[in-house]
């Protein structure tokens, strides 16, 4: 076993993120009840892009770093039952860069992951459906889909 690569990398990510992160995003380790930070479990938020049906809201995520991170990707989840064609009922996101067997590379940092997920919000991948309600609406009744997404945006509305 060489040094604790996971923790070392997470600290690096944290420093990088503080120096430079995209506007409207946040990502930070969760606080434990004693006031210390749990470096292996983070919370994050992704703003919906302006000019899309996802706008004016910030969507919460949890990020957990498995023991063999960065060899394996972090697990990133929306809240359960999040409405999006490529999000499983459990909140797990179906995105190739988050999949070890597909496009995950240890060099991918938190910033690119979150930007990738932001991109996915408004451009779902019709070829990998992960939940029935959003996928069906997205492919068959766009109006209903838009309505539901906007309703969800209300739920996660930015406090101005």
């Amino acid at each position: 076993m060489s040094r604790d690569l996971r923790t070392e990398r997470i600290q690096q990510e944290r420093k990088q993120w503080r120096k430079d992160h995209p506007f409207g995003f946040y990502a930070k380790p969760t606080k434990k009840s004693d006031g210390s930070l749990d470096l292996h479990n983070w919370t994050a938020g992704i703003p919906g892009k302006q000019g899309t049906i996802w706008e004016n809201a910030t969507y919460p995520l949890t990020i957990s770093f498995p023991e063999d991170y960065p060899a394996k990707p972090p697990k990133i989840k929306f809240p359960p039952a999040f409405y999006h064609p490529n999000v499983y009922p459990s909140g797990t996101i179906c995105l190739s860069i988050l999949n070890e067997e597909q496009d995950w590379r240890p060099a991918i940092n938190i910033k690119s992951l979150l930007l990738g997920i932001q991109e996915l919000l408004d451009t779902p991948n019709p070829n990998s459906p992960a939940q029935e309600p959003a996928w069906k609406a997205f492919s068959k009744s766009p109006e209903e889909y838009q309505k539901k997404v906007k309703l969800q945006a209300q739920q996660y509305k930015d406090k101005v």
Partner: protein, 586 residues
């Protein structure tokens, strides 16, 4: 005394030191029992034996200090009582408890020993003892066996490779989808039968449909199919509770071996690059379920024909059902025949469907019971080498350069030697344990704030700017972005015997590790440490040529260490064989 003069003859005058030594033996199991006997025969002054376990029937075939009457007794206490009639001078002490328990065994407990012998059965305790020995700079003799293989590694902290220097293989786990949808090896089917089927049908915990992590499946149809299976199994539980014997067997069989497989077959994706499961080998099943006999498994234990497998399945299923109806809490136990035969027959039926070789009782017992074969002779040999390796330390401890010339012993992969040896290797420069500078900090946790600790650290170690304070389990207590905790007392975050990791924010210095000892004294006492600068991108063997330490282990022509090579023929040559792991140059 005969023993004294014999030892003197073997090891020379310096062997009188044995009587002054105080050693700790961690573990009184297979290797531990043997090692205790060896240490006693060396006339070691004080031997402290520590084990958390009690004696089990299955120990008796190799842990020769224990008898049938000792079952359920403390291993360490029974072991020292059992050697009482030996003619020995050693003082013996037994401790019953976990070595990881810092209340029972704080750092100060280990400090009293000259040498520590590991005779453990798990990685966690081995890593832990390794760390303790690094803090206290105590030689550690690490040993282990599996079946006919074994190994002894002397660890001289910071001089030779420590237990964490080489990555250790962790037990294999299988992806959910392999177990549930696409098995390809017998062990996949056995895991399915034991961890999924058996526990779903008979575990008494409310069948809380465990949420399946959909991300583990590569396609969503597969995840969906898997979820359905679980729900329907919950329904089967009702069948078990209410229906008659024959219905139970047929319904369960057709659900798990027909319907579930048909559902998988519909997912075309899965079978593009794999062989499809097929019912060909089990197609006559109903024929064998005509007259079911619950006593079948007590009479027929062979599993070579379909008839035997199916009848064993029916018989074990019904026996378990009866026990379940009597509200018995059934757990899989390799020595409980009903559970073992159920798991064996179910996994074999699944194997037939997926065209995987079936397994017999012995194999299934070993795989499902996670049995690591233990051989008394291997244990005895390795315990002997462990004791012998430490003799080298006693005899040469006035010259540490000679001590690090001792050898590691391991089983041989060549055919003419049973045992082989290899030179000890230099520590791994990026080892997670021994490459990190360590020290002990004495501090009053209840009166000191985190802020005071931070200031003291910066002052003492000349950190330019600021520090990060973390615990070994990756809780971040302080860095420049987390200032809320500065006024808090340390008792809020850490205890006596916690390990802290300190980094400087400039990333100029290397990480350090501090072991916390709580004290009543208001003064913070920090250790004197020589903190190295951070290595810039560690390219490992950079300075190998001009490294002074290289002198340490060269010229081993005149070989004063104990020869540990055992040879089947009379060939006395010492053949250096590479140990089965990555080797670093000394």
């Amino acid at each position: 005394m005969a023993v004294d003069s014999y030892i003197k003859k073997m090891f020379g005058e310096k062997s009188s030191q044995f009587a002054d030594a105080k050693v700790l033996l961690v573990g009184a199991g297979g290797i531990g029992c043997e090692l205790l006997k060896d240490l006693i025969m060396m006339n070691i002054g004080e031997i402290h034996v520590l084990d958390l376990d009690t004696i089990d029937l299955s120990n008796l075939n190799r842990q020769f200090l224990f008898r049938h009457k000792d079952i359920k007794q403390s291993k360490s206490k029974t072991a020292i009582a059992a050697v009482e009639f030996f003619n020995y001078k050693s003082k013996l002490y037994a401790y019953h408890g976990s070595v990881l328990d810092t209340n029972l065994f704080p750092l100060s407990f280990f400090k009293q020993f000259n040498i520590i012998y590991n005779a453990l059965d798990n990685l966690e305790a081995r890593f832990y003892m390794n760390r303790m020995c690094l803090y206290l700079n105590i030689p550690l003799y690490e040993s282990g066996t599996t079946g006919l293989k074994g190994q002894v590694q002397p660890i001289y902290p910071y001089l030779t490779e420590c237990f964490s220097c080489v990555p250790k293989e962790t037990p294999k786990t299988f992806p959910v989808c392999t177990i549930r949808s696409t098995p390809s090896k017998p062990v996949h089917c056995i895991t399915w039968a034991k961890d999924f089927l058996f526990s779903q049908l008979f575990s008494n915990e409310d069948t809380n449909t465990q949420e399946i992590d959909a991300s583990e499946f590569t396609n969503e149809e597969e995840a969906e199919a898997s979820k359905k299976e679980v729900n329907e199994l919950a329904d089967l539980k009702k069948i078990i509770a209410n229906e008659g014997d024959n219905e139970i067997v047929i319904k369960i069989f057709e659900k798990i071996f027909i319907a579930d497989i048909e559902r998988l077959l519909k997912i075309e994706e899965l079978w593009k690059s794999r062989e499809k499961p097929s019912f060909e080998q089990i197609k006559d099943y109903d024929h064998f379920f005509k007259d079911i006999n619950k006593e079948y498994l007590t009479t027929c234990k062979d599993q070579s024909t379909l008839e035997e497998i199916l009848k064993t399945f029916a018989s074990s299923l019904l026996r378990l059902t009866d026990r379940f109806k009597n509200n018995e809490n059934i757990e899989f136990d390799k020595d409980d025949e009903d559970t073992l035969f159920f798991v064996m027959s179910a996994s074999n039926i699944r194997s037939l469907i997926f065209n995987i070789p079936t397994k017999n009782e012995f194999d299934v017992k070993q795989i499902a019971g996670n049995i690591i074969p233990a051989v008394a002779t291997t244990n005895a040999i390795m315990a002997g080498f462990s004791a012998l390796s430490s003799v080298n330390y006693f005899l040469e401890n006035d010259n540490i350069n000679r001590v690090v010339k001792s050898k590691m012993v391991f089983d041989s992969s060549s055919t003419d030697k049973v045992v082989n040896s290899s030179k000890l290797i230099k520590p791994n420069p990026s080892c997670s344990a021994c490459s990190i500078v360590k020290g002990i900090i004495t501090i009053d946790l209840s009166s000191t704030t985190l802020g005071q600790l931070r200031d003291k650290l910066i002052e003492k170690y000349n950190y330019g700017d600021d520090v990060e304070i973390m615990t070994l389990d990756s809780r971040l207590l302080y860095d420049f972005d987390l200032e809320d905790n500065l006024e808090e007392k340390l008792t809020n975050f850490i205890n006596d015997q916690t390990v802290l990791l300190i980094n400087d924010s400039d990333e100029k210095f290397d990480l350090i590790e501090l072991y916390v000892l709580n004290s009543q004294n208001s003064e913070i006492i920090l250790p004197e440490l020589n903190i190295p600068l951070k290595k810039i991108k560690p390219s490992e063997n950079e300075n190998d040529e001009n490294d002074d330490d290289d002198k340490l282990l060269v010229d081993n022509e005149e070989n004063n260490d104990i020869k540990v090579t055992v040879s089947l023929d009379d060939d006395d040559d010492l053949v250096e064989e590479q140990p089965p792991m990555k080797k670093r140059k000394f």
